[in-house]
Symmetry: C2
Subunit: 307 residues, 2 copies
Amino acid sequence: MERVRRVLAVPEDYTVLFLQGGASLQFYMTALNILREGEKADYLVTGGWAQKALKEAARVGDASSIWGDSDSGFKSVPSDGDYSVRDDAVYLHYTSNNTLYGTQYHHLPDSAGKPRILDASSDIAGVPLDVGAHEIIYAGAQKNLGPSGVTLVILSPWAMSRVGENLPTMLDYNVHASKGSLFNTPNTFGVFVLDQVFKWLEENGGLEGSIARNRAKANLLYGELDRSDFWVPHAEMESRSGMNVTWRLANQDLEAVFLQEAEAAGLGGLKGHRSVGGIRASLYNGCPLESVVALVAFMQDFEIRNT
Amino acid sequence: MERVRRVLAVPEDYTVLFLQGGASLQFYMTALNILREGEKADYLVTGGWAQKALKEAARVGDASSIWGDSDSGFKSVPSDGDYSVRDDAVYLHYTSNNTLYGTQYHHLPDSAGKPRILDASSDIAGVPLDVGAHEIIYAGAQKNLGPSGVTLVILSPWAMSRVGENLPTMLDYNVHASKGSLFNTPNTFGVFVLDQVFKWLEENGGLEGSIARNRAKANLLYGELDRSDFWVPHAEMESRSGMNVTWRLANQDLEAVFLQEAEAAGLGGLKGHRSVGGIRASLYNGCPLESVVALVAFMQDFEIRNT
């Protein structure tokens, strides 16, 4: 837990929890703990995960989308000024990286002074993060932090002070905080591995090292996508994700062949999510630069053989 | 999943799920999925875990204790006839083994024809179990089945048919069943190890082999407890647990020395829960007979040196 605090520069008065149930349970738990019936919460809906978070919060209070981009295929995240936070919203929720569409915020979204709640599941410990500018940050561990089955939750004093009364015991942040995440019964193996990942991060340049490695990977791959009209990147330039790179082939008929030959060349898991189609390469912390080098070499060879 | 079905002889039309959050989350989830506001559910309260199960269910409906033994120190489980299930109860909930007090049912409790819901966390796959006589069985994996962070849930067709509408997604048995326990995101490592444990069980005599091993361990230890007045067993004879053996020393002043010397002799984790005090030896599936042999030899030596 101390390693998490050091690497992510968590303010001393913030609470750090290791819970279960994935980010999906947090969609509901954050609202259940923080929001009261009838109270408003505003959501920036930048993809499928944000939609799910909104759906669960709407079971608890008046949770609404104040920005959404589903009509244009979730190719971007909003800029400040693209949305208005309601005057009486209790918080603003956003999803820092959108795995399905390959978009990501590269700025701290304006919240009009309201508390920010962040689902950082797919880019935590891989990008710059100002923990103190948020009241709750939650992240499933299975992308950048370790094995599935652990969710990191970081809560500000304000968040802890908002936790409601008489919540179901296992859904009550106060219960877990009062027991130091040991309430019956934590995923001990998952927490152990998560701690080892943070140890590795600390020994390899900390958060800055991780950011540098991820930028190098993303720059290499986007450089290839921008080099040739053979590729058609999905996300708009300023919203491009450093974690999930999504693109189509100009000739979409070639996509199946691309995926098949890539797989045969040892480059697996590149099929895009069905909501976007095409190709998706995920560059999470566990992915080494060498993988991206190999992918780009394969792409260049594939283009030559198919033009 | 097929191994779980085979070893536990789960009826074909039952659903098997691997969830997260421990049995403690199931205390709430079972009621949330099965019970409607105002509906009755009856609980046999045989210890701290049953009390917790009742507390969570009472958030959902009219859940009541129809039998409790806290006044006499939870030394036994009820016999049929010791309690009356309410005519309009939706189900009867019981806890097959009580870890804190060292008691256990050795019969299928009479439910007056009502559906049985069972928390089998601390004796599943270690004792005889008629799955088909229950509508829901849940069990945290961390005692008899594998690592913490996985909960096995077995649901009858009746239970699945009772699942309510519009539940929070991660708390909805239908969601998890429809995705074969793969809904975002399972504890993959924990499920893998659980499967390996069931593989081991299958290769070592199945459930019958496990029952035989556990009986041998329990008989050895209870034999020692009954041999001498130096020891004072906590549970009543007919309610003795084969999983958690609890006792005091006739001279309670010696208990601290006993624990200290046991620890030094490599026999750790024997301190009784604070609600009972004294000594507790847990004989879960992972505990080999050799450990109990060593414990009994230590006990006999300790008695000689202290009388």
